[in-house]
């Protein structure tokens, strides 16, 4: 090789070496530069800049450090670096909406955010130091931030008891229970589910054609304006029976199978033929039946579609099924037997056993059978005839295959459990674990749950889950409740924080227990946290009401709150039964520290009474909420009969601290002196005007879920 060539080559080599050295140095320089420009450091610096532009700089930067901030909760496996960028979350002066994110203060919540971190509630990736990593789904982390609307779900992951701050979650849990989702799915921390009716004797109750129609269209459709297209049997929003997406031959087979179910024979009752003979000829039979139907307050629990002035509305309660077309559904023999003794057909029904006279029973049953009907109900139903052996066999197979036994008991078929997937950890699932099929929705958990609830087939063509109909608010509530099912709580190491649900069925004893069961008091009233919420809580009724008043009320119920429509049915209770109830409530259903005997009304003086009246009228102006005479407010109970109704001991305890007796009452607690309390009690005890008896309630409004609208 010539020397010249050699020199040239070594020059080239040197040049290349020099170049690569420069590149190397540049690369090394990029690294600190890149570190300096890390996302979290940008936010750190811009917070300093932002704080310096404000008058409270010193306070805002009091515990500023240029490094990463983190909250580390060892017991709960939480490492949250969110406060690295969200530096103002505990600065009250940064609460205003004009403060730019990520510096804005966290709104006041029951938990200290510095103590609990962020990801327990908001989810996302706690240790991340980049915006996208922390908030969104990335390749390395699939748990994105929970949309604010569903944040209550996180409360439910730890708090098993219902919290007043989380109405959406509470409603969702209520719906999961009401719709008996636990029939098919495993879910944590819900009340005992309510089942659909026992079908063991359904062949006695309805025809095969009716079952066919029911399986095809189980609902009445209620549009946005509240107009009802009555083509089904249940109010759409309160319907519990979902659509099962059955094929024609499947409906035929199932209806055939169900129509031969006659294992559970209701106790038959025969109305005295003389009564039937006398009443069946009377032209006012149906009208009389309707009057009685209303007097008996059937619409407290059952709803009817009522058309007034061209507008059809659902009126009535939702404890029992809708009755608009029940006359075209059930047969006469069954109806009479049912009204006579509901328990003989359905063991766990909430329907009270009324004390019927034969006359009333005939009138009401004739009204139901002749007036609450629809001649077009079964128009599109083919004549099905008697079920064939084959249909019965296929029907039985379908009953199990479709999961019917998850909700309905049927003689000879074992209840199905775990028919659907376990959902106890659904809320912690990653998007990659979910099946989206061809659904055109965002691939995240919230969209998945909502799509699945709205149309199960859209995300899984082979889904067995039936079709429900949701209002948006209910859909969101159920979504929140499902998102709260995240398996064992993150706070499981802190068991004492998790409040377990209490189940304390009220179990009265003796003669009262029989009456309590017969009239199903618990369907509407609550005793020690057990029972319905439609009517007042009676846990302390014995301390509150006078014994005689209770007995009189049972014989002739009337409303005490002026805005409420009477809902308490007249049971035609005998004097003996009313006496037993009054006696038991006064003796055994009391608030321990309110002894009705402790205050003697006889010691009240005229001076106390006139002072009390003055306090009521002038100083405290109680008339803004309560009515005495004909004037006053609608919010609290009418006090015209307070002297006969309430015990003086209860009035005193109530004025002292209403929330101690009834935690959810809206009556404000005041600063009364002992003397004022005595005087007000003395005054109220002089009020003894009976309220005019209300004999008919022409209509009952739909169930109102409002706190403090009890009595």
């Amino acid at each position: 090789m010539p020397a010249e060539g050699k020199g040239k080559r070594s020059d080239k080599l040197r040049l290349t070496f020099a170049l690569s050295t420069v590149v190397c140095v540049l690369v090394l320089a990029i690294s600190p530069m890149k570190d300096f420009r890390a996302e979290w450091k940008l936010y750190k610096r811009s917070f300093v800049k932002y704080a310096q532009g404000r008058p409270d700089t010193k306070k805002l930067l009091a515990d500023y450090s240029p490094s990463i901030d983190q909250v580390w909760l060892r017991g709960m496996n939480v490492t949250d670096r969110c406060t690295t960028c969200h530096q103002g979350i505990t600065q009250p002066t940064l609460a205003d909406a004009s403060v730019p994110q990520p510096f804005r203060a966290h709104p006041p919540v029951p938990h200290n955010v510095r103590q609990w971190g962020c990801s327990i509630c908001h989810r996302g990736q706690g240790p991340a130091t980049e915006v996208a990593e922390a908030h969104e789904t990335t390749l390395a982390w699939e748990q994105p931030i929970l949309p604010a609307h569903f944040l209550q779900a996180s409360c439910g992951s730890c708090h098993q008891a219902d919290l007043k701050e989380t109405p959406l979650l509470t409603r969702g849990r209520e719906l999961l229970t009401r719709l008996n989702c636990q029939g098919c799915h495993k879910l944590n921390n819900l009340d005992q589910a309510t089942l659909g009716p026992d079908l063991s004797g359904v062949g006695y109750k309805v025809t095969r054609e009716w079952i066919y129609k029911w399986l095809k269209e189980p609902r009445t459709v209620l549009d946005k304006d509240g107009n009802v297209t009555v083509n089904g049997y249940e109010n759409e929003t309160t319907s519990r029976m979902p659509k099962l997406r059955l094929k024609e031959d499947e409906i035929r087979a199932l209806s055939g199978f169900l129509s031969v179910q006659k294992a559970r024979l209701p106790e038959k009752y025969k109305i005295n033929p003389a009564v039937v003979a006398a009443w069946s000829k009377r032209p006012d039979l149906i009208a009389q039946g309707e009057v009685r139907f209303r007097q008996m307050m059937c619409t407290t629990c059952h709803s009817l579609a009522v058309t007034r002035a061209g507008e059809t509305k659902m009126i009535g309660g939702d404890i029992g099924p809708e009755l608009t077309k029940v006359g075209s559904k059930v047969n006469e023999e069954w109806l009479v037997a049912w009204l006579w003794n509901p328990k003989s057909y359905l063991e766990h029904s909430n329907m009270p056993r009324y004390s019927w006279s034969d006359e009333d029973l005939y009138k009401v049953s004739q009204y139901v059978l002749n007036k609450l009907t629809d001649s077009d109900l079964l128009t599109n139903v083919p004549q099905l005839g008697a079920a064939t052996e084959d249909e019965i066999k296929t029907g039985k197979r379908l009953f199990v295959e479709k999961g019917c036994a998850s909700c309905h008991a049927l003689n000879g078929i074992a209840p199905q459990r775990d028919f659907g997937p376990d959902l106890t950890a659904l809320g912690a699932k990653y998007a990659s674990e979910l099946e989206f099929s061809k659904a055109k929705i965002e691939h995240n958990l919230v969209s998945y749950i909502q799509a699945k609830l709205q149309d199960p087939v859209s995300v899984n063509p082979a889904a067995r889950m039936p079709q429900y109909n949701w209002e948006q608010s209910d859909l969101d509530a159920v979504t929140a409740a499902l998102l709260s099912q995240t398996g064992p709580a993150a706070t499981s190491a802190l068991q004492h924080l998790v409040v377990p649900k209490k189940y304390a069925p009220f179990q009265p004893v003796g003669a009262f227990a029989q009456i309590y069961e017969r009239y199903k008091c618990y369907a509407c009233h609550r005793f020690d946290g057990y029972g319905g919420t439609l009517a007042p809580d009676l846990s302390y009724e014995g301390s509150r009401a006078q014994k005689k008043w209770i007995a009189d009320f049972l014989k002739n119920p009337q409303t005490i709150r002026p805005t409420l429509i009477l809902r308490m049915p007249q049971f035609n209770m005998s004097d003996r039964d009313a006496g037993i109830v009054a006696e038991y409530l006064s003796m055994a259903v009391q608030k321990a520290d309110v002894d009705p005997e402790s205050v003697d009304a006889r010691q009240f003086t005229q001076a106390m009474v006139s002072l009390g009246r003055q306090l009521y009228d002038v100083k405290y102006q109680c008339q803004s909420c309560h009515t005495i005479g004909a004037s006053g407010g609608y919010v609290g109970p009418n006090l015209n009969n307070a002297g006969n109704w309430l015990t003086p001991a209860w009035i005193e305890a109530w004025l002292q601290n209403p929330q101690a007796l009834q935690p959810d009452t809206i009556e404000p607690r005041r600063n009364f002196t002992e003397e004022e309390i005595r005087a007000l009690t003395a005054y109220l005890m002089t009020l003894r005007t009976g309220i005019k008896a209300q004999t008919t309630a022409s209509r009952v409004r739909a169930h109102v879920s409002g706190q403090g609208v009890g009595r």
């Binding site: 890149k34 996302e39 994110q101 919540v109 609307h149 407010g633 919010v635 005041r670």
Partner: protein, 167 residues
């Protein structure tokens, strides 16, 4: 020949280094505010039910307290139907009445709810809620009032504030 290969290897290595360190850099991320900070709850505008007002956490808690305690006298429709407003005299203001409430400071409203009307020389028909509601619950109700106010509420110090400085 050997050194040439070495050279090329070194260069390629460098390029990878550069790519590795600076290549996958993302621009400072922004969060979709609708998802992370979107409405915790909503309330239909009282004058126009088609419009929804977005509520944050505190305002939502205020909404809950309002519909439990205040709605009976401070709204024309209640969950139970009729309102008690017309039975009370002087008639209580509607809770969205910005013309009346925007001028009052948060402190003043907090006081009147806590201590009752008579303590501040107003109607005794407004009872004190200081022993029934917590200060946080009362502030939440005020936040809710501000959120639904018509005309819209402006904070003191902001342009268009209706605050009169009354205590």
């Amino acid at each position: 020949m050997k050194s040439k290969v070495l050279m090329i290897a070194l260069l390629v290595g460098n390029v990878f280094c550069v790519l590795e360190i600076s290549g996958c850099k993302k621009s400072a991320g922004a969060v979709n505010p609708d998802v992370a900070f979107g409405a915790y709850d909503t309330e239909a505008d009282w004058n126009d039910s088609t419009k929804l007002v977005n509520l944050g956490y505190q305002e939502s808690q205020g909404k809950r307290v309002f519909y439990e305690y205040c709605v009976w006298c401070h709204a024309d429709a209640t969950p139970a139907g009729p309102s008690n407003r017309s039975n009370v005299s002087p008639m209580p203001p509607l809770m969205n009445d910005g013309a009346k409430l925007n001028g009052e400071s948060d402190e003043y409203i907090q006081n009147i709810v806590t201590l009752g009307g008579s303590a501040l020389g107003k109607s005794a028909m407004m009872p004190p809620y200081g022993k029934t509601l917590s200060p946080d619950e009362i502030s939440a109700v005020i936040a809710f009032t501000r959120a639904i106010a018509q005309p819209a509420y402006q904070k003191p110090g902001r342009p268009g504030s209706q605050y009169t400085g009354k205590q």
